[in-house]
Symmetry: C2
Subunit: 255 residues, 2 copies
């Protein structure tokens, strides 16, 4: 049995609580949040507290709080030599107070409050200073069915950065697709199967091999037509920059 | 029974032949290509020809050829008053020779040579000058299980443009994610579940609602960290432009 205390009440904290709570060999001994109201919904399933001094004994303390709060809360913990981990993609492991054993449990996935999460689709990147702590965190992640990967700080940071490209920026391209189609009363819904297929394609093929379209072919006529259709200058700029990027990748243009 | 002649031997032509050939109420009467060798593999399943003068009678002639060849081939057809359609997202319906009835059958999906296509995931955008022709093309598309949508030229053109954003440009963001992770020997594979989840999310939620991340929160510290990690100036430019785009969309920045 692995015992855990969760600190924080955001999306990651809540999804972790839910999955831990239904996993046989994990027990959530306590859930801390500054604002107790956020935990009110769960008070019948777990001991809740808003008092750091009242934290109970556990194998792992998980700081699922905002990046800026990690260093501060780690310094206020009223114990030492315990395993304390944060869940951030970009906060340095050494930013946490060294009075405790330190680690990172970074779930590489997008979490919505509403949608349930299948943790077998959540790769968990683990970083620790101590080998024994790594094994315990790996056991915790495997217990909820997640694939795991040991990473160092530099790797975790580039994964977080790359996640912004493939998730936030990609989603913004979907948004622009939405705006463009709406401008002519065309249906964004018609693009949804294409969006899904594009994501599926790179599950088994490199993005390099999966590329198609006018930029890769350097099809000047189509590119010109597209630019003339774009009324929004910001969209034009994005079209030009990503077209150049594809041309560079596929040898149609030199820096 | 709908009879069809296919012209061209690219990805779209080949996938259409395959699905038509196994559909009960569609018969492919002939397959034309300038270069007969490309059709050699299919010569036992269908009559093949490289001679436009030898084209046989059919209900629909499908010009699945490159954009630049559509006008030319349509002018060379040795018959008139037949239904002739092209499959391009951006060629004007009036670019085809008016001696025949004209239409467009634009499949809004990415086609790979190797991977089989499930046509129930291929919305087919139909444009015709004549209502009766529209009904025939709709029947053809429904026979292969595709959802259909009647669109006008302007709508088809913006759908094609939006497809470049959500498919080609998105795929290029995956490629950049690949380059960034490889630069630190991190595994691109770890990002694949996130890529798929990002695409799935907008199947039932608008991209606007689905957005998360540092740009939407205007998290200056993380944005600064990310920019300092990016060594490639071109990637930096893309990061800045898409971050600004998200900020504009979510009211964090004004034009």
């Amino acid at each position: 049995m692995i015992s855990v205390v969760i600190l924080g009440a955001g999306n990651v904290a809540t999804h972790l609580f839910r999955v831990f709570n239904k996993t046989e060999n994990i027990t959530v001994k306590q859930w801390f949040n500054r604002n107790l109201k956020s935990l009110d919904h769960f008070k019948n399933s777990v001991a809740i507290t808003n008092d750091l001094a009242a934290l109970t004994d556990a194998d792992i303390y998980i700081l699922a709080v905002s990046d800026d709060a990690i260093a501060d809360i780690s310094g206020q913990l009223p114990f030492k030599n315990k395993l304390v981990v944060h869940t951030s993609g970009c906060v340095n492991i050494h930013d946490m107070d060294k009075k405790n054993r330190r680690g990172v449990l970074y779930p590489l996935q997008t979490f919505s409050k509403a949608a349930p999460i299948d943790f077998s689709n959540v790769p968990i990147c683990i970083e620790t200073l101590d080998k024994k702590d790594y094994l315990l965190l790996k056991q915790l992640a495997l217990s909820i069915g997640s694939p795991t990967k040991r990473v160092n700080s530099d790797q975790r940071k580039v994964l977080h950065l790359a996640a912004v490209f493939v998730n936030n920026f990609t989603n913004q391209l979907y948004r622009i697709g939405h705006e463009i189609t709406e401008s002519e009363s065309a249906e964004f819904d018609l693009l949804k199967p294409l969006i899904l297929e594009t994501a599926k394609k790179v599950q088994n093929m490199s993005p390099y091999m999966a590329q198609t379209g006018p930029a890769k072919r350097d099809d000047k006529k189509t590119i010109k037509n597209h630019l003339s259709l774009l009324e929004n200058n910001h969209h034009k700029e994005i079209y030009n920059l990503l077209t150049d990027s594809i041309k560079l990748t596929h040898g149609r243009k030199k820096l």
